[in-house]
Symmetry: C2
Subunit: 560 residues, 2 copies
């Protein structure tokens, strides 16, 4: 498997040659001027010179190869898919598996070069990376391994992708620079699958440190390296995302969604896909993006709220949706995005909407306990970097405090905050209340119910005995709302009356279909929506919603 | 639990009274004119008359109640959530469970009234429905059950939701009018949770029959009822979706997504959420919706293609996404929508993209076999109505034919179709080829590979030995493409060269971030995207993509 023998002409060279031929063909019918003839001759000379130079280089290479005992053991493979070459046949392993493999096992892995350094002309070290893990690889010149190969390895650019054949060897002194500290890999073959350039816009190692503040200028971290700012990281997001820090964050984000779906499917929920393109703005009309829809206008859905309720009216009983939602809010905060992933659910209940509160409580507990047990490594990686306190997960459902809004306001008043029980609390007060409850109940997860009716959407069921309040609830993690929900009005006359009181046009194009739905019989129901990012954020203590989003969108960012 | 005693004033009545008071209050400071006084007196008279009438009715009702042995066993509950009432305490069952329950079991169920009919003053039948199932319920007057209650039951409007307490009794003659044919429910209590009106815009029973042709005018079905056209059904989609036919279709659609995720998660795939709002049109710029984004423009993603590849370049190895995609194609066909659900996946491979073909083949086989075994009842319901032939699912992966495009064209030529092997085939030819392969290999699932390079997107890897073709593939069910995919170019120089040849601006705002991604090292990868609707469509033989979509969007439909 000598790459030199099999490396094809890179297709990149081909089309330009074709283009040149095409050009000549087009001009072929005309006589050539003297000037053109001179130019042609010059080009001929140049080409001849180049040919001779290439021959010379090839000869030198052949000479070097003849002296290189390792010449069939390393090199650049062709761009995979463009030419035949003899593939490696050793058994492939994943990098993380090497931590638990028998000493002396011969393996083949594909990994990134995290970095390479030369110790001497005879010895070099590579740090190899795959997602959350790194391992140290050693390459040492010997009778069967050439110095040329050691040099080839030591000069590899960081972020290149390589196939490595080698033997796993246990070590006595733990290797501190790699996540796998009990073993190293002794390189026998080394093939470059894809080369990274010597200069990268940002270093993956720089992306391994936390961002203390969204707007912070470059500052020094504890290691003495400058912190790369969030905008710079987001501009180079594909490199940034390679860090073990981001791998951990986005494995956890995936975990949140997996646990959400897992629990709901166990409980007979059906996944639905409701439209994001709407004929009219539905929920008030503010903060909605307008779309040019052929010769008409359309609007992007701010939530699947109305549709998931329509699915209840259509007898689908228990439904969920995980999909993007769009908010045209022109605010640049650490908590808002113009596009995010909403984890929605809606379900029928028999008599009392508290059944739904309890169901969602058990669901969120399942997610938190799942993160705790299945994502320990990822959680530790991130919390260590962000110096986040452990999350107090209640052990049993009964340990999750369910507190009415009035009780919450009373707690805040006791603590000296002057607020009304008939107005919504702001995010600072929410945070404060979270701290009070943490102290009182030893939990970072609690539920606040019965919000003032005026603070909730028009479709919210008023409180049974005190219509100043409502059958609503917010779920709080570390004092931040991660889910908002309520019992909905399922009776059309009552819904129309609420619209009338609030001055909302129930018969207008935005609400007509929705309101009409409830004319044809509908079971009592309630639901809610999690922000996927919010759960990740508060689980890890990240402080900025952008850090929990692959490619965040805000009023000033639409790329990459 | 007498509904008469506990039924609250419906809140609907309250605000209008308040509004009237508010009006008088506002005028209170001024002297009243003679005209106004006269008006007031008239209204007073009217109110008095109404009060007397109500008293009379209440007295008659009280009299009737006194004679009604069942008076505490039926009625309308208050709107649930608006008033206290004594809930039923019997054990709740799901309707479908009654098929397998012991004779004589006392149950409580919540269900829709599918229809009600009176046999005599002493006997009535209700057909009760819950999703895919119906059961016959009987109510017979006796010493302990009043004729008033029988009348109440027999006059219930279809589509009302009821709580029923009763006893399950086996029957000797199968009941043909219900899906549960071996038992009926003898009603003991009957409470209306939500009433439907006597007139519905369409009948659920009408939604139970297939739609023979999208544009067909009303025609008679075999039962003699007129077929309600698709546009009418879609206009009344919430009622339409209640039919057992639609319940079956959307349970299967959910199943497709569940099986897709299940298989990918088993194989170490990570779910990602990539942005739908883009700063510039990315894939050519045609057929893309434009969004007003504050003082800028944004564009809706036509697919997550570029982002899922960027996630591979960011080392996420194996990723999938299930999300809406948007296509501004102004074509009204049975195969196109402006918004649909794309099931995307992208993965690294070692040496040969056929590994990815085989992986996706096994995935689709898993989905089809899963539908066959887990969704038998739903599949039968729909195929019976649409007179669809059974789907020939290959038993083993090796039974799925993998045919090159050239071989496919040769088969078509043999059959007399005149086509070129360097141009893509159209949907009619696809269908024809599907039939030829069905005959030859006895399968409704096959894979066509190595499409002409010119027929594929710019990022497609050209064929290794013949650059007129490409490393691409389509997956076919019943001769219709359900997945399109390819190996992607992972080398930046090669990708830029392809853009140049095709006249695509690799440095423009739409592609810059994507193309730059490949400068920093990227593993070889391939992937594809299923249209969720397409799988459902061809599995069931529906013939129109709208029928597999909850709330379809096309150039002329943005509602409901």
């Amino acid at each position: 498997m000598s790459s030199e023998q099999t490396l094809p002409e890179r297709p990149a060279d081909v089309p330009s040659a074709e283009a040149a031929e095409g050009g000549e063909g087009g001009e072929g019918g005309e006589k050539l001027s003297k000037k053109a003839l001179k130019k042609m001759e010059k080009e001929k000379e140049k080409a001849e010179k180049k040919r001779l130079q290439q021959e010379k280089e090839a000869a030198a290479k052949a000479q070097a190869d003849a002296n290189d005992v390792s010449k069939d053991k390393y090199g650049d493979t062709p761009i995979i898919g463009t030419a035949d070459y003899k593939p490696l046949t050793q058994k492939r392993y994943k990098l993380h598996e090497l931590a638990e493999i028998a000493d002396g096992t011969n393996v083949l892995i594909r990994a990134r070069v995290h970095n390479a350094r030369s110790q001497s002309a005879k010895l070099a070290f590579l740090n190899l990376r795959d997602r959350l893990d790194t391992i140290q690889a050693v390459i040492a010149a010997s009778e069967t391994l050439s110095r040329q190969m050691v040099k080839f390895a030591s000069t590899l650019s960081s972020e290149s992708i390589v196939d490595v054949v080698g033997t796993v060897r246990g070590v006595t002194d733990p290797i501190k620079s790699a996540s796998i500290s009990n073993a190293e890999l002794h390189i026998e073959e080394l093939w470059v699958i894809s080369r990274a350039p010597n200069q990268m816009p940002i270093q993956v190692e720089d992306a391994e440190s936390r961002i203390p503040n969204e707007n912070a200028a470059e500052e020094k971290t504890e290691t003495g390296r400058p912190t790369v700012t969030l905008p710079t990281r987001l501009d180079n997001r594909v490199i940034d995302l390679r860090s073990t820090l981001n791998q951990a964050i986005f494995q956890i984000r995936d975990g949140v969604q997996q646990l959400f779906e897992e629990y709901l499917r166990k409980h007979d929920f059906l996944k639905i896909d409701t439209p994001k393109l709407l004929g009219a703005p539905s929920e008030g009309g503010a903060n909605v993006f307008e779309v040019k829809y052929f010769d008409k206008k359309a609007y992007l859905a701010q939530s699947p709220q109305l549709y998931k309720q329509m699915m209840i009216a259509a007898d689908y009983k228990r439904v969920f949706e995980t999909a993007p939602v769009f908010r045209a809010e022109n605010s640049n905060t650490t908590r808002h995005l113009t596009e995010y992933t909403s984890l929605d659910l809606e379900m029928e209940f028999e008599h009392d909407y508290h059944d739904v509160i309890h169901f969602i409580r058990d669901l969120l507990l399942y997610i938190l306990q799942g993160l705790e047990t299945r994502y320990t490594k990822q959680t530790e990686r991130v919390r260590k970097e962000y110096k986040t306190e452990a999350f107090l997960v209640p052990k049993n459902p009964a340990d999750v405090p369910i507190i009415t809004f009035r009780e919450g306001v009373a707690l805040l008043k006791e603590a000296g905050t002057e607020i009304s029980e008939l107005e919504d609390i702001n995010s600072t007060e929410e945070k404060q209340l979270g701290n009070l409850i943490r102290t009182k109940y030893n939990t970072d997860f609690y539920i606040l119910t019965e919000y003032p009716l005026d603070a909730r959407a028009f479709y919210t069921m008023p409180h049974k005995t005190d219509p100043r309040f409502s059958h609503s609830y917010d779920f709080m993690l570390r004092g931040q709302e991660v889910l908002s929900g309520a019992q909905r009005i399922h009776d059309q006359a009552m819904l129309k009356e609420r619209c009338k009181v609030l001055g909302i046009d129930a018969d207008g194009p935005g609400l007509k279909d929705y309101v009409n739905t409830f004319a044809y019989g509908c079971a009592p129901h309630a639901g809610g929506a999690f922000g996927a990012e919010r759960i990740v954020l508060n689980w890890l203590g990240l402080g900025n919603v952008r850090l929990a989003t692959l490619f965040p969108r805000d009023p000033s960012r639409l790329t990459p």
